[in-house]
């Protein structure tokens, strides 16, 4: 017992995966212990300063990683935030309270405010327009500095910033170094815990698709603001350290070159890595420190890194280093590198089509967890919905209803408005006329609010975020159930631990019962299409939906996968879910649906049970094009 326990503990300690997409902490921890000791093992002042500045840049780069690398937002205002915070603390240290703790607190507050401000355009625009807007802030720095010269020192800047005190005690260079290391440690612990939590998963989901994010009930607006603020804080901390360590700041300290270097630093360490930021920071400091001999090459170096890094990222080759580390980890005895969770998984058959009982269990367990809502009748009413796109009427006065415990299918030829209808129900589009109500209450026409009312969905092309393991993708569906705050996540509170355990357990059980147990720890975006589809279904099921919308779930599936899918849908029906499915596979629809609605040119042209629809002359004419007023069936018809 004790040996196994011991091995497990060891295994967990040495596991470089930490059960999530390959972010370990043990090796960085060892490095960090060395780092803490550095200021006290006789490093001379010069090297201590190098170390401090490396920390400064690592902090800035980690902010870029958070906003750009994880959340995929091009709000790159970190240099501006860095500048403001440096000026703020230089002012405090020379003119007011020369206390590093006060300066740090002030900088955090300032960073949050400016982070929100610089991110603001990101709520409206995206892509490079947002990037340009945040770059522009950097060229404002010298102007602003000179607008208020009595505070900023104008073009002269601050040239003799004293070493600060901490709680009234004067600090030596070594002690300041120690403080820098501590801040570095605290921030990276925060960063790691933040990213390796539901919030981190939500950020990666946002990076892939805001559309998907809001369909999981997550407010995209709030999540973006969270990403901007969290990415601003380290830049703020860096500003304080910089002012204290460097002793001089001026308007030219914060150049556009620094912006480029900051992005290069992020790319070279891996934009969506945690500890890669330290590598980026070291690079920036190395280039800056060699200023006389090397600075002239800095732009060339940055340029090469950005071009190569950008191409590798686009080709999905980034993270090679991380892959290498993982491979090294696999050389450790397998007992050491496996997580305890995989022991539970091992009890069920690895993969292949799951049995009916397993699917029953999957859906049943997932839906039953938590408060019991089964047995309550629900009904979804679509009342006279009309939707136009640029004068073209995609939906025209569509009225239909769906009930809990039934599968309602919507079929029709290409361009008949099926997906548009699904998007109106899910709150993605606002109907131009009519509306959708669930249990006589109007469904909101905002996707995330609609999702919170219990509407879950899948997409025509499965949206599976990059850089996540299969179980994480499924667990992302639980963001809104049993909400865990950022603070609780970062502090790893008991609630966080319980919810994390549940998230993982539920997701893995669900996947196992759906026949994907052996993939739970595989990168999800690399899974074959049928598995990605099942993954999407699982992500929707784990939300315990009242209404489940499926957009062509059978497309691209083969016989075996279809059986699984059909079982899942049947089981959802038995659990009292209102299932609405848009599908071309007539066979599947006929077999499964309780009611079929046929759309053509944006209108409902037929509704009824499958056998009626199968033999409905209007439907036949829509599908086959015979114009014989539908009533006459050619003699070739089987009878």
């Amino acid at each position: 017992m004790s040996t196994t326990r011991g091995t497990q503990l060891l295994g967990r300690a040495f596991s470089l995966r930490d059960g999530e997409s390959g972010y370990g902490f043990v090796w960085p921890l060892l490095g960090v212990i060395g780092l803490v000791l550095l200021p006290f093992i006789g490093l001379n002042i010069f090297w201590q300063t190098q170390l401090d500045l490396m920390i400064v840049y690592a902090l800035i780069v980690s902010g870029v990683n958070l906003t750009f690398g994880f959340a995929g937002e091009l709000a790159l205002g970190q240099v501006a935030i860095f500048a403001v915070s440096a000026y703020l603390s230089a002012y405090l240290m020379t003119h007011a309270i020369n206390d590093v703790v006060v300066a740090l607190l002030a900088a955090i507050v300032a960073a949050i405010i400016i982070g929100l401000f610089t991110g603001l355009p990101g709520l409206r625009i995206g892509g490079w327009a947002l990037a340009m807007t945040s770059f522009f802030l950097v060229i404002l720095i010298p102007d602003v500095v000179q607008m208020i010269p009595n505070i900023t020192g104008g073009t002269q800047g601050f040239d003799a910033i004293p070493l600060p005190e901490a709680f009234g005690i004067d600090l030596t260079v070594s002690e300041m170094s120690f403080i820098a290391v501590v801040i570095f440690l605290l921030w990276f612990a925060f960063f790691r815990n933040f990213v390796l939590s539901r919030h981190g998963r939500a950020l990666k989901t946002l990076r892939e698709s805001p559309h998907l994010t809001s369909s999981l009930g997550i407010s995209v607006l709030r999540l973006k603001l969270l990403a901007y603020v969290a990415g601003a804080v380290p830049a703020g901390l860096a500003g304080v350290l910089f002012a204290a360590v460097e002793g001089y700041i001026g308007p030219t300290t914060f150049s556009f070159t620094l912006v480029i270097g900051m992005i290069a630093g992020s790319i070279i360490g891996g934009a969506d890595s945690i500890y890669g930021a330290a590598i980026g920071g070291a690079l920036l400091e190395y280039i800056n420190f060699r200023s006389a001999a090397f600075a002239q090459y800095s732009l060339v170096v940055y340029g090469v890194i950005l071009v190569l890094g950008g191409i590798l990222t686009a080709k999905g080759l980034a993270g090679i280093a991380r892959g290498g580390v993982r491979r090294t980890a696999n050389l450790l005895p397998s007992a050491l590198s496996n997580e305890s969770i995989s022991v539970e998984v091992a009890a069920v058959p690895p993969s292949g089509a799951p049995s009916r009982q397993l699917i029953d269990r999957a859906v049943g367990d997932a839906l039953a967890s938590g408060d019991d809502t089964t047995g309550v009748e629900h009904h979804l009413e679509i009342q006279g919905v009309t939707k136009e796109f640029g004068g073209v009427r995609a939906l025209n006065d569509v009225t239909l209803s769906a009930r809990s415990g039934e599968i309602t299918a919507i079929i029709g030829p290409n361009g008949s408005g099926k997906t548009t209808l699904l998007n109106v129900i899910a709150g993605v589009y606002r109907a131009d006329g009519g509306g959708v109500s669930l249990d006589d209450e109007r469904l909101p026409s905002r996707s995330h609010r609609c999702a919170r009312r219990g509407v879950a969905r899948t997409f025509q092309t499965p949206i599976i975020p990059r850089g996540m393991l299969a179980w994480e993708v499924v667990a992302a569906g639980r963001y809104e159930s049993e909400y865990v705050s950022v603070l609780q996540s970062v502090l790893r509170s008991p609630r966080f631990r319980r919810v994390r355990r549940d998230d993982r357990k539920l997701a893995i059980e669900l996947l196992t019962n759906l026949g994907l147990g052996s993939y739970a720890f595989s990168p999800a975006d690399a899974m074959p299409l049928p598995h990605r589809r099942i993954l999407e279904v699982a992500r929707a099921i784990i939300r315990r939906p009242v209404v489940m919308l499926l957009d062509e779930p059978a497309a691209g599936l083969d016989e075996g996968d279809l059986v699984t899918l059909a079982e899942v849908l049947r089981r959802l029906r038995e659990e009292g879910v209102t299932v609405v499915i848009v599908e071309h596979n007539f066979g599947l629809v006929v077999e499964l649906a309780d009611t079929i609605h046929v759309l053509n040119l944006g209108e409902v042209v037929a509704s009824g049970p499958p056998t009626d629809i199968q033999h409905d002359p209007v439907v036949a004419s829509i599908y086959l094009g015979n114009e014989s007023s539908g009533a006459v069936i050619p003699t070739g018809e089987a009878s």
Binding site: N414, L529, H584, L624, E637, A638
Partner: protein, 250 residues
Amino acid sequence: MTSPSILTMTNVSAGYGDVLAVRDISLEVPVGTASGIFGRNGAGKSTTMLTIAGIVACRSGTIVFDGDDITHLPAHQRVARGIGCVMEGRRIFRQRSVEENLLLGTVSRRARRRQRTSDIDEAYDRFPILREKRKELAGRLSGGQQQMLAIAQALMSRPKLLLFDEPSAGLAPAIVGDVLAIIDALKADGLSIILVEQLIDRALPHVDSFALIDDGRIVYRGAPDDSESTRMARNVYLARGSDHRDGPSI
């Protein structure tokens, strides 16, 4: 005596990402004939057409056009060799005028401006409504007019083989009839045609032979006068497979 083929597909597979939407399809289009590719939504019809046009890469198999292997030729070179394409959903350049659209149709040919202009005039003679609307933005035309423009535009490259991808989609039945009549006329002019359609009953009289596709594979080949064909299609489309055949019939 079989006539020479304008297009020969041999065991072609193609698809997007990790999905094969077209599997092992072989098809032969004799010169001057119209071939139909029929099937329900998502059966792989459009992918087949885009593979012939060179938009979707051919994973395996060969495509021979007019005696030359074009399997790995880029799309624009296939147009230059004589494959024209009327895309699904009347995919014309909506922000351009009718005349600009027609001019863009000639882009694959080396020709003097005067030649292009006189070709556009010819197109106007065939489709007089387009002459009336020549300065109008293409997106402002009615559905039927847009379909005419799409056909006229495809003809501007002087194709030997014309691909039609679901010309009926989103059009009122009467206009579908007009479009099918145009296809007949083009065939009479000597063009070879591939007609991709879902509306098999409507399209059937206008083709010389057809292949029925389901799940990316050819499940049936036939000719319009083949009495089996309609029943086959019905079974495939409406899933009236063997287990339904003994059910109540109307």
